[in-house]
C-alpha cells in the first residue's frame, strides 16, 4: 500500500515483470541464492572432511593396539621348587626363562641369551604364576602356555619394525629377528584380541598396560561430579527461575554464572589444588577431589540448561496448577519439573560428557600419576581416561603410540554413548503440546 502511494501508478511500467532489467535482476537473485547454497554446502563438506581426517588418523594409528602378540612356551614347574601351600611364591621368572632357553639349546652366549629373554614380556612370569595358583595340579608338570611377547617383538610381528633398516636404526637386534623367525616356524607366535587393554591398569610395559584404572577413575569422577552438580544445579536453577525476585542482586548472580561457564578449566584445577588439597587436605590424585573440581565446571552448564528447560515450560501449565490451588512448591515439583526433566537431563549429560573429556584441571590435582592398580575407592589414587591418554602419549615405548589412539577411541566411544543418550531422552520424554 505504501509503495503505491509513493509511486503513482502512471510511472510504473506495466511490463515491469518481463522487461530485460527485471530479467537481469531475477538472474542476479537466483545466482545469489545458488552462491549461498554452495557456501553452506561447502562449509558442511569442510567440517565433515576435517572430522573424517581426524577420526581416520586416530583409527588408523590405533590399528596395532587392538591385538597383542603372544608366544607359546612349554613351561615346566618342578615340584621341588614350589610350596603347594604357598604357590604364589616361587621363582616363576626362572621357569619362563628355562622354557624359552630350552627351545633353542644352540644359543649359548650369555649376551644372546639375555637378548632372547628380553623378547618375552616382563609380565610373563605373572601369567604363569596365576595359572599355577588357579590350578595347583600343574605343579610337577610341563604344560603349554601363551605368554605376551615384549613390545619390540609385538611391533616386529605387526610389521611396525622395518627389518630392512640397519641394526643400529631399529630396537630389535639381528639375533632377535632370527629367533623370532624360528619361533614363527615352530608355530609358536599368534596374535589375539588385546583384552589386556581393558582388564589391566597402567604399566611401564605397553604389552601389559590397560585402561582399567582409568575407566574406574573416570567412573568415580563422573559419579562424584553428578552427585554434587545435579542436585545443586537444579536447586539453584529452580530458585533463580521460579522464586528469585528480579533485581540487581539476581542479575549479578546470573552474570556470574554465565561467566563461570566460560572460565578456562585449568583455573578450576588451580582452585582445586589451592582449596581442596591444600586447605581441606584431601588426598592427592583422588577421584573424589577430581569429581569436586569437575563439578565446579559442570555446575554452571547444568544451571544454564535447567533454567532454559524451565523457561520452556509453558506458563499455562503454571497457571493451571496455581488455578486449582496448588502452592508454588507443588506447582514446581508436580508440574514444571516433570515437563522440564528431559531438557534438564540433556543438559546434565552434555555437562558430564564435557567433564569426562576434561584434562587440564585433573593434571593440576595430580591425576596424571603413574598408578598400576585400579582405584578401589573414591579416595585411592587414580588416573582418568583423558589423563591416561596424556601419560601414554608422553611414554617413549613404541607400543604406547597405538595405545594412545586406542584410548582416545575408547574416550570418544563413551562420549558418543552419552550424547546419544541425551538425544534419546530428549526425543523419548518430550511432551507433545
Amino acid at each position: 500500500m505504501i509503495e503505491t502511494e509513493r509511486l503513482p501508478s502512471a510511472e510504473i511500467d506495466s511490463n515491469w515483470a518481463t522487461s530485460a532489467a527485471a530479467q537481469e535482476r531475477l538472474r542476479q537473485r537466483r545466482r545469489a541464492d545458488t552462491r549461498l547454497w554452495l557456501l553452506g554446502l561447502g562449509a558442511v563438506a569442510v567440517a565433515m572432511g576435517l572430522l573424517l581426517i581426524l577420526l581416520g588418523s586416530i583409527v588408523s594409528a590405533s590399528r596395532t593396539a587392538w591385538t597383542q602378540t603372544s608366544i607359546r612356551l612349554d613351561v615346566t614347574i618342578p615340584a621341588d621348587a614350589i610350596d603347594p601351600e604357598n604357590a604364589a611364591r616361587a621363582r616363576y621368572g626362572t621357569f619362563v626363562d628355562d622354557a624359552l632357553l630350552g627351545l633353542f639349546p644352540d644359543i649359548e652366549t650369555p649376551e644372546e641369551q639375555r637378548l632372547m629373554r628380553s623378547m618375552i614380556s616382563n609380565g610373563a612370569q605373572f601369567f604363569i604364576r596365576d595359572q599355577v595358583v588357579a590350578d595347583p595340579d600343574l605343579i610337577g608338570q610341563t604344560f603349554s602356555a601363551w605368554v605376551p611377547a615384549a613390545d619390540r617383538i609385538d611391533q616386529l610381528h605387526k610389521g611396525v619394525v622395518n627389518r630392512d633398516l640397519p641394526p643400529n636404526r631399529r630396537n630389535v637386534t639381528d639375533s632377535q629377528i632370527d629367533t623370532y623367525d624360528r619361533l614363527v616356524e615352530q608355530d609358536r607366535v599368534r596374535s589375539t584380541f588385546n583384552w589386556t587393554l581393558f582388564t589391566a591398569a597402567d604399566s611401564r610395559f605397553p604389552e601389559l598396560a590397560g585402561l582399567k584404572g582409568a575407566l574406574w577413575g573416570s567412573f568415580y569422577l563422573l559419579l562424584v561430579c553428578f552427585l554434587i552438580s545435579f542436585p545443586t544445579g537444579i536447586a539453584a536453577a529452580i530458585y533463580l527461575e521460579e522464586f528469585a525476585p528480579k533485581n540487581r542482586f539476581t542479575d549479578f548472580i546470573e552474570v556470574n554464572i554465565n561467566n563461570l561457564a566460560a572460565v578456562p578449566s585449568i583455573v578450576f584445577g588451580l582452585l582445586g589444588l589451592a582449596v581442596f588439597l591444600q586447605v581441606f587436605g584431601l588426598p592427592r590424585s583422588a577421584p573424589l577431589v577430581g569429581g569436586m573440581v569437575l563439578s565446579l565446571m559442570t555446575l554452571p552448564t547444568i544451571i544454564i540448561a535447567t533454567r532454559a528447560a524451565l523457561k520452556q515450560v509453558p506458563p499455562s501449565i503454571r497457571e493451571a496448577a496455581l488455578g486449582v490451588g496448588a502452592s508454588k512448591q507443588q506447582t514446581v515439583t508436580h508440574h514444571v519439573l516433570p515437563v522440564a526433566m528431559p531438557g534438564i537431563l540433556t543438559g546434565t549429560i552434555i555437562g558430564l560428557a564435557q567433564a569426562l573429556g576434561e584434562t587440564a584441571p585433573l593434571l593440576l590435582i595430580g591425576m596424571n600419576a603413574f598408578i598400576t592398580a585400579a582405584p578401589d575407592s573414591m579416595l585411592s589414587p587414580s588416573t582418568a581416561l583423558p589423563t591416561q591418554i596424556f601419560i601414554w602419549f608422553d611414554s617413549p615405548e613404541r607400543g604406547f603410540v597405538a595405545r594412545t589412539s586406542a584410548a582416545i577411541i575408547v574416550l570418544l566411544g563413551f562420549m558418543i554413548i552419552m550424547n546419544a543418550t541425551a538425544v534419546f531422552l530428549r526425543q523419548r520424554f518430550q511432551t507433545k503440546w
Binding site: S316, E319, A320, L322, V324, G325, P338, V339
Partner: protein
C-alpha cells in the same frame, strides 16, 4: 448492598446503571464478590482505575470491552492470580462473602480452591484425563480413599458434560482430546475442588462454533451451583450466557447493568459505540 458510585466525573449515567444493577442483585441473589476502588499498576503503568463492582451468586457476570481494557486483569484479581506477576501492584478492596481476599490472614492457596479458574487456551496438565481431574482434590485432601476420588472424578466430568465421551478412556492423556473437550476437561478440573466462584477468561476464544455452543450450554447449567464470571470478546456470547454485563474501557468500569438492558438501552455513549461495533 451499597451501590458502586463516584468513579468518574463524566460517568453519571454509569452511576445510575450500577445503582440499577445493585437493585437487581438484591432481587436475584446474594452478593458473592464485592470490589471497591480497585486500582492496579503494572510497574509504572496503571491498568485499573477505581473499579467498583458487585457480583451476584448463581449468576453469570460477563466482562466485555476492547483489548487491553483491563477486564482480564480485573478477573485475575478475584483469585489473586496477579500475585504471580512481580511488577503488579494492587490497591483497593475485594471481598469474597464479605472477607477481604487481600488480607494477610487469607491463604492464597485456599482462596484459589474457592475461586476456580478456566483459561483462554485449554491448558490440561500433560497427564491422563483422570490425573487432570484428581490433582486438585488430592492436593487439597478432599478424597481420603480411591473410591471417593473416583467419585469426584466422575461427578466433575459429568458436571462438565464430558463423562460420556471419556468414561472409557480415563487413562489416556488429556492432551489427546479435541480443543473443545480439553476446555471442558479444564472446567471439570476447576469444579473438582468444589469452588464457589468460577472465573472464565475467554473460555471459548480458542474453540470452534460447535464446541463453543457446548461450553455455553455448560455455563448455563453450572450457574445453578456456582457464581460465574466470564471475560469474553464476543458480544453475542455475553448476551447469550450472562445475566449481568460489565463494560470496561481503558481500565475503567464504564457500565454495569443487567445484560438485557446493556444490549438494548446502554446508558453510556461509549458502551453503545462498542456494542454497535463502532470501535473495539
Amino acid at each position: 448492598m451499597v451501590a458502586a458510585n463516584a468513579r468518574d466525573a463524566a460517568s453519571a449515567s454509569a452511576d445510575r446503571a450500577t445503582s440499577a444493577a445493585a437493585a437487581a442483585a438484591a432481587a436475584a441473589g446474594q452478593t458473592k464478590v464485592t470490589a471497591r476502588k480497585v486500582n492496579l499498576w503494572y510497574g509504572e503503568k496503571q491498568a485499573l482505575y477505581d473499579v467498583d463492582i458487585d457480583i451476584t451468586s448463581n449468576e453469570v457476570t460477563a466482562f466485555i470491552g476492547p483489548s487491553g481494557c483491563g477486564k482480564s486483569t480485573f478477573l485475575r484479581c478475584i483469585n489473586r492470580m496477579n500475585d504471580t506477576i512481580p511488577i503488579c501492584r494492587i490497591e483497593g478492596d475485594i471481598r469474597l462473602d464479605g472477607h477481604d481476599i487481600y488480607d494477610k490472614s487469607i491463604d492464597v492457596v485456599q482462596l484459589r480452591a474457592r475461586v476456580g479458574m478456566v483459561f483462554q487456551k485449554p491448558n490440561p496438565f500433560p497427564k491422563s484425563i483422570y490425573e487432570n481431574i484428581a490433582y486438585g482434590p488430592k492436593i487439597h485432601g478432599l478424597a481420603r480413599d480411591k473410591a471417593t476420588l473416583d467419585g469426584i472424578v466422575e461427578k466433575s466430568l459429568k458436571g462438565a458434560g464430558l463423562w460420556k465421551e471419556v468414561a472409557d478412556r480415563l487413562d489416556e492423556p488429556g492432551l489427546g482430546l479435541s480443543g473443545g473437550q480439553q476446555q471442558r476437561l479444564c472446567i471439570a478440573r476447576a469444579i473438582a475442588v468444589s469452588p464457589e466462584v468460577i472465573l472464565m477468561d475467554e473460555p471459548c476464544s480458542a474453540l470452534d462454533p460447535i464446541a463453543t455452543a457446548v461450553v455455553e450450554e455448560l455455563i448455563e447449567e453450572l450457574r445453578a451451583k456456582y457464581t460465574i464470571v466470564i471475560v469474553t470478546h464476543n458480544m453475542q456470547q455475553a448476551a447469550r450466557v450472562s445475566q449481568k454485563t460489565a463494560f470496561f474501557h481503558l481500565g475503567k468500569l464504564i457500565e454495569f447493568s443487567p445484560t438485557s438492558e446493556i444490549f438494548t438501552s446502554p446508558q453510556h455513549q461509549m458502551t453503545q459505540d462498542y456494542i454497535t461495533g463502532r470501535f473495539g
